[in-house]
Structures are given as structure tokens and as C-alpha cells.
Amino acid sequence: MSMSMSLPPIEAPRDVAQEPLLRVDDLWIGYRSRAGTVPAVRRVSFALGEGESLGLVGESGCGKSTLAYAVMHYLGRSGVRLHGEVRYRGEELAAMSPERLRAIRGQEVAMVYQDPMSSLNPTLTVGEQLMEVPLAHGTATRVQARERAIAMLGEVNLANAEALLARYPHQLSGGQQQRVVIAMALMGEPRLLVMDEPTTGLDVTIEAAILDLIAELQRRRRMALLFISHNLGTVMRVCERIGVMYSGELVEEGATDAVFRRPRHPYTRGLLECLPTFDTDKRTVTLRPIPGQVPAVLKDVEGCVFAPRCMHAQAPGCTTVTPQAEPVVGAPGHTVRCARHAELPPWSPPRAIDAMDAPAVNGGEALLRIEGLHKVYDSARAWSSRGNGGVHALNGVSISAHRGRTLAIVGESGCGKSTLARILTGLEEGNRGTVRFGGVDLAATAVEARTAEMKRAVQMVFQHPEGTLNPSHTVGFAIGRTLARLAATPRRELRRAVERLLQTVHLPPSYARRLPGQLSGGQKQRVAIARALAGSPALVVADEPVSALDVSVQAAILNLLLELQSESETTMLFISHDLAVVRFLADHVCVMYLGQVMEYGTVEAVFQPPYHPYTEALLSAAPVADPDAHQRRIVLEGSLPSATRVPQGCPFHTRCPRKLGDLCETTRPPEHHLPGGHRIACHIPLPELQAIEPVLGPVRAEAGD
């Protein structure tokens, strides 16, 4: 008994010199289900040395999270390792005693999960949770543990650490919570940190700060990092090496730079071609989505897993022989699992031919003109409000959208973009200001008060594919009901009209009989688009329609939106936080912050100097999956203020790196008007703003020096 109480010393086997910190060898993992064991990870081999960082990317269901859990030797009740080895410093995890595994997990290997709130105990203070790590492992006294906790909070750039120790998790913002979780993981001084989508739920500027922190901590502490993400740009920002997963297999692995510049696997190439980048837009480049979909259940297929979707696949080689991971000639450490990788033509990214040749058309009549729009939500329970006057969701917004064009609204949470969408569609009413649309004022007209014609004219596509369709109704019913209500389609023609709409969104007519549970996320979004188009609306409000989708599906939906818009002259209000998508899709951009418009103009004007300092920070924070893009780093201090307490003066002054002084805190900034309708709301004089260097310069910036 006393033997098991004292922790076994962590000593490595003798051949530690040859053994990397972590080695995964031909790993197969499956999940037991009623239908038998379903494989989730197959044939995965990789090694991670002391102080190295490896990013694993892939679309949902590719097995990347399962792999992360396998490294922690935690697969839950239904997960089973079918084959292969996971060795930490040469020692097989599966052969370890529970005590040894516990010691390893706390002190040697630590993990950070996606949702910080599920890693933090809501009933314990931050201090108690941080101190628990060394105390549980018996490596420090309470006083020492407290000192280390304070030091660690400083290390993750949290100011005022002493005060923070006494706080409860719910009193922190999302970014602060994730920093605390990272600090907690680092308390045991781990040699290996496993992170599963650590920044996915966060706002862009917060995400960028955390990613930079992770990269810096990893370098400073010489710690190995296994970083899992669905976002190529994120991995690019943090990791030296990258592994691309598809359908449970690691199809390509190598130095991040090499994989992005010279991808060898057709799937990696496909992913890169799906991504809009900052030097491309809809006039110069078409996104090329990968045909087909990720197989739902992995069967042990003959041949290459990607062959059914691969444009380079050749029978019988690709369809009968399982390809092995082969090294790429001339690129040490770059391996690819493709039988034909040596024969593939060299790859070049879909670059803009010359963006200057095709400027955005600025003209066109304004279909939608929003002026001085205000929206204040009263506090939920009037009698308990402490006189803070409610939530200022929109604070004097003035923008316009042109017929047949796309206006993108960009901003972080609390900027009011969803409130604006709800006012346009009549789900809410504005308090002050006007929304002129085809001769009527939408601002004060809730949906019940709208005429059939007004309802028909404005429709919406929602963010979450899961919530957008009623799970109890078939696709045909959802579209048919909308057709009957908005387009007054006669009953006899309903079935044919539904099929026609399904065809416009590239779904087979037989899908009319399916329930939403039988569709993938991208297909649901297609149905939602078909439903929005049922009444041939003049204005479609799309609230983050692609943010919940995988990259390859996102590309297909963006293409679909473009195609439909070019056919029908529909005006689109596209709400997004993804600047690369906005750069690609939009004609006009409106940058919002805490209910106010910071900058508005054509997409070319907004993405080039002069910028508003907030636009500049957003551009700097955007994850860019392009090794050639030169991105200037701007770190924003502090966290996003809550919309219940919007700062006086310029709302951005609390975080602005270019703040002038008291003026910004007291006076609402004036608008600089530039040619082409470009507006910037900032106290900084225009010539100074014009002198700001571009945040995103391709090779040009380097050549200039």
C-alpha cells in the first residue's frame, strides 16, 4: 500500500537518446458501437521530439481529436486501441500502471480542451484550481503553490494575478478563461502539451493573442506541442510542423512552410484551393471545392481513402493498393501517403492575376439605406436592473447596400451585427433611426406588421446548420411551406417548384423526402439557402452562413451564393468574422465595434490603408494560411468590453494601440470621408492614417526593404 502511495520516479529507459519524446507507431483506434467497432484512426505514425511543435489539421470526423486523446491514453469507455504503439520517452502508455499514468498526465503531459468552461470547475476559485495541480502531485507546499500560480498567471499575460486568484471562472471573459486553463496545464511544467482546438470559440483578436502566447510559451519553455485545429491559418501561426489528416489517416506531414508551399497530397492541395486568401477575390479567382463528401462511417476501404474524391486517382493503382507513407525526395521530414505523389504536377496557389485590373463596381443604386439606427435592449428583468440603461446593441449605425451587390458586416461578438440582421428581418424593432428599403421603413416594422410583399423581399440564411431546419419536418415540407406562404405557389405546382429550387442549390430532387437528420451540415445549409430563395427575395441576410462548416464545404457554399447572386441580382448582407471570406465575397465592407460603425467602404478601400486602427488590428489577427503573406503583428491589450457598458467616446479606446489621449475617451470620433464613399470614424488625422503601412503585404513589403 505504502509503495503505491509514493509516486514512482519518472525515469526514462536507457535508449532515451534515440527515442523521441513521443512516438506514435501504426496506431489504429476504433469506437465500439451497436454496429460493431468503427475505426476512427488508422495507420497513424509520427514522432514528436523535445521542444518541437506539430499541428494536426483536418475536417470534422477525420480523427484528429481521437488521436489527441490517444496520446493522453484516454479514450473513454467506447474507444479501443486496435493496433499500434504510443510511446512517451520510449515507454508504452498502455503498459503503464494507473499511478504512473496519473503522474505522467499531470506533470509530463498536459492537455487543453476547446471549451474553457468545461475544463474549469465553476465552484472553485481560479487560485484553488491552479494550486491544486502541484498540491495533488505533492510537489509543493501551499505557499509555494500560490507563488507558482501567481507567476504562471503572469506568464500567460494576465495582469493583476493576485486579485485573479480569488475570482471564480464565470467572472472572467472567454479569453481570460482560456489563459487560466493554459496556466493550469503549465503548472505541472509539462514536457508535452496537447491542445485540442484551444481557440475555436474565441473572437479573432482574442484568438490571435492566445495563439501568439502559445507559440511564445512553447519556444521559451522548450516544450513539445501537439496542436489540433480545423483551421490551417491557425496552425501556420503556431507550429513548425504540420500533419494533415483525412478520414482517420495522416496523409501528409512535414515542415509547415514546405507543406503550404509545396503540398504533395491531392487532399492538402484541395484544402488550400478551397481557402480564400487576402490577395484573391471573387472577380479574380474561383474557389475549387473538393468534390464529394467525407465518408460518414469509415470502412476499411481497399486502396487510398481519398481516391473516391481525388482528381488524380487512377485505377487500379489508387483503388486497390493502400499507399504507404513515403518520404518526399529533396524535402527531409516531409512524408506523404499518396501512390502518385511523385508524378503530380507542381502546385501553385490560385493567385490573383492582377487585382488592379478589376476594381469593384461602386455604382448601382442603394437598395437599402440605414441611417442613425439605434437599438437598446432593456435589461431582462426591469425591477432588478441597476439603472445601467440596458444593452446598447446598435448605436447610430448608418450604412447602405447596393442592388445586386454584397455588403459584408465584420466584427467581433457584441458588435451588433446579429441585432442588425434581426431588425432587417423584422424579428426585432429599432429604437431610433431609419432603414429605407424600397420606399418603406423597415426599422419600426416588426414582421407581424409587414405586408406579404415585404416579408417576401427580405429573407435570411442562418449560422448554425443544426438549428436552421426543423428536425421534425422534411426538406420538401420546409421549402414547400415557404413557397406557399411567400411565393403563393399553387398547390398543384408545389412539388415541381420544390424540386426546381433543390436543383438550383445542387441537391437531387429526391432530397425533398429527407429529414434534416439525414443531411450533412453543408446540405442543410443548401436547403436553408433554397428556403431563403423561395420567395425570390430582393435582400438576403446571411448571418455567418459558412462559419460552422468545414473548409471544403464552405468553399462550395460560397460558390453557390455567388452563382445565385449573379443569376438573380439579389442583394446580400453577409455577416462574418472571417476576413478572408469577406475579402473574397464582398463588394462593400462595414467594420463594426460595440454597435458603432468604425469603417465603411468598398472592399478594396477597407483592406488597404488608410485603416481604422480596429480594422488594422482585425487584419493583423486574421489567421492566414499563406507562407508568403507578410502579416504585421499588432497585439490588442485587454478583453472586449461588454455591450452593457460601452466605453464613452470612441468605443475602441480601451484597446486601441494608437489611442491619442483623453480626446478618445470623452468625444465620439468624427468621420473622415474619403473618395468612393469610404468612411473612417477616428480622431487620428487622415494623413497619419494614410501613412500607416499595410498590415498584409505579400512579397512586395520585403522587396521594398
Binding site: 414582421v447 406579404a452 435570411m460 442562418f462 438549428g467 428536425p471 411551406r481 398547390r491 423526402r513
Partner: protein, 294 residues
């Protein structure tokens, strides 16, 4: 209207879908046992005129023990009671009473509870406040006292039992439905329905109601068992159906003074109540299991 054409194409007939649902239940052993017991009692109730050996109210031989020979050459399998009625026949006929009034009462409680819950959850505001406070009031009152008050005031009849159960159970159903609606009302498909200008009743019954059915079915099974117990208790307290029609609770009440000497008179109706309630509880567990796995 127009939805009829699509609904023809969109779904298989109701009975087919019910059968498919029952087929799913096969995956839960507990659920199958529960379903077996419930089906057994339903069959007994339906076939009562053909399978009961004697008329339920016929007085034959008093105080016969289980297995005693009957004067007509048959057997009193479960014995007879103090005035000579065959207990087996009375248990069989008694199942009819229970299986008519318990589902009827539960059904009424559900109709009222669902409508109130949908309205309260969807509209929020003062409607919700008034309905919720009223349901708190009813639920905070001791249920049995409530039943006794209602039935003692308005007299014992099948209709009054149904009314009493509805009054006492509908608030609980309303709370469940309201909780589910609060979650669903903010889904995007509800916003989409509002944007195409649907009436509130359409949104409540076509868009929201089908999506709360899972938890409600489980709750309905459990609640049905509880109502069966309640009807038994009311019968035992003499507030059930007026005699002489057989009623399980009433049978226990009539013979309780003789329990020491003739335990069989009360035992068999007790067993009947327990087995039916147990069957419903197991069925609810099974459905819950299947819903969680689906």
C-alpha cells in the same frame, strides 16, 4: 391547404411509423418486458367478456379460497370475496376500469398541460408569469388532499376522477413543456417561420410541438402509472367508482378488514395494480434508453 399535398409525400402513415418506433424498442430488454406487461393487461381488458369465467358482480360462494371448486363444476382460481364474487373475474373486469379512466385522465392532463406549456414558454412575459405561478400553487398543494376535496365536493364518478387528475397533473406537464419550449423558441427554424409570417398557433403546434414529443412520451408512461396508483388510492378511500362495478382499489378497500384471515381477497388486486405500474415504468425506461441512443 397546401401542406396536405406535401404531407402525403413526406411521411409514411402514422401506424407504420408507430410500428417502426416499437421495433426500435426491441433494443432495450427492459423496455420489451415493460411493453409485454402492458400489452398483457390491455389484452385482458379488451377480452374481458370472453375470458372472465363468471360475471363480475354475480354472488356465488362466499369466502372460497383460491383453487376451490365452484358449484358449476369450474374452479375459483383466485378464490371469492366475502359476498361470493369471483376475484379472478373482478380483477379481469377491473382492468377495464383502470385502462379506460387512467389513459383518459392522463390524456386530458396532457392536452391541457401541453397547450398551457406551449403558450407560456413561447410568449413568456406576463402570460408565463400568471400560468407558472398558478401551476406552482397547484403543485404546492398536497395532491391527495386535492383529490379528496374535489371528489368529496362533486361526488364520485368517472368524470370527476378525470377532472381531478387533469387539474392536479396538468401543471406538472405544463412545466415540462414550458422548459422544452424555452429552448426551442430561440432556434433558427422558429425565426424562419416567423419571417414567413406564420400564425402563432401554427408555430406552436406544427413547428414546436413535434420536437418536444420524445421527453413527453417518456413522461406520459411514468405519469400514466402514477395515475393508475391514484385511481387505486381513490378507490381504496371509497372515492372511486360507485359500487358494485369492479375497481381494483375498491376491491382492496372492501376486503381490507379480512386481510388477516383471507389475504387473497386484497392480494390479487394489489398485484394487478403493481404489475401494471411496473410495466409502465419499465416501458418508460426502455423508451428513454432508445431515445438516448437514437
Amino acid at each position: 391547404m397546401s401542406e396536405t399535398t406535401i404531407s402525403e409525400a413526406r411521411r409514411r402513415p402514422v401506424w407504420l411509423r408507430l410500428l417502426a418506433g416499437l421495433a426500435l424498442l426491441r433494443e432495450s430488454r427492459v423496455g420489451m418486458i415493460g411493453a409485454g406487461i402492458v400489452v398483457f393487461w390491455v389484452a385482458v381488458a379488451v377480452l374481458a367478456p370472453w375470458i372472465s369465467p363468471y360475471p363480475p358482480n354475480a354472488t356465488l360462494v362466499p369466502f372460497a379460497l383460491p383453487g376451490a371448486a365452484a358449484p358449476d363444476g369450474g374452479v375459483f382460481w383466485l378464490g371469492t370475496d366475502h359476498i361470493g364474487r369471483d376475484i379472478l373475474s373482478r380483477v379481469i373486469w377491473g382492468s377495464r376500469t383502470v385502462l379506460i379512466y387512467a389513459p383518459l385522465a392522463t390524456g386530458c392532463a396532457y392536452v391541457v398541460g401541453i397547450v398551457l406549456g406551449l403558450v407560456a414558454g413561447y410568449h413568456r412575459g406576463w402570460v408565463d408569469e400568471v400560468l407558472s405561478r398558478f401551476s406552482d400553487l397547484v403543485l404546492s398543494f398536497p395532491v391527495l388532499v386535492l383529490y379528496i376535496l374535489i371528489i368529496a365536493t362533486y361526488g364520485s364518478s368517472g368524470l370527476n376522477i378525470v377532472l381531478a387528475v387533469t387539474f392536479a397533473s396538468a401543471p406538472a406537464v405544463m412545466r415540462i413543456v414550458r422548459g422544452l419550449v424555452l429552448d426551442i423558441r430561440d432556434r433558427d427554424y422558429i425565426a424562419a417561420a416567423q419571417m414567413r409570417g406564420e400564425r402563432t398557433s401554427y408555430i406552436l403546434f406544427v413547428e414546436i410541438l413535434p420536437n418536444v414529443r420524445g421527453p413527453l412520451i417518456v413522461d406520459a408512461c411514468l405519469r400514466l402509472g402514477y395515475v393508475i396508483i391514484t385511481i387505486g388510492v381513490l378507490g381504496f378511500l371509497g372515492l372511486g367508482l360507485p359500487p358494485p362495478d369492479p375497481d381494483w382499489g375498491g376491491m382492496i378497500n372492501e376486503t381490507r378488514s379480512m386481510t388477516m384471515a383471507f389475504p387473497h381477497m386484497a392480494l390479487f388486486p394489489c398485484l394487478a395494480i403493481s404489475s401494471l405500474v411496473l410495466g409502465l415504468n419499465l416501458l418508460a425506461d426502455g423508451i428513454r434508453e432508445v431515445l438516448l441512443n437514437a
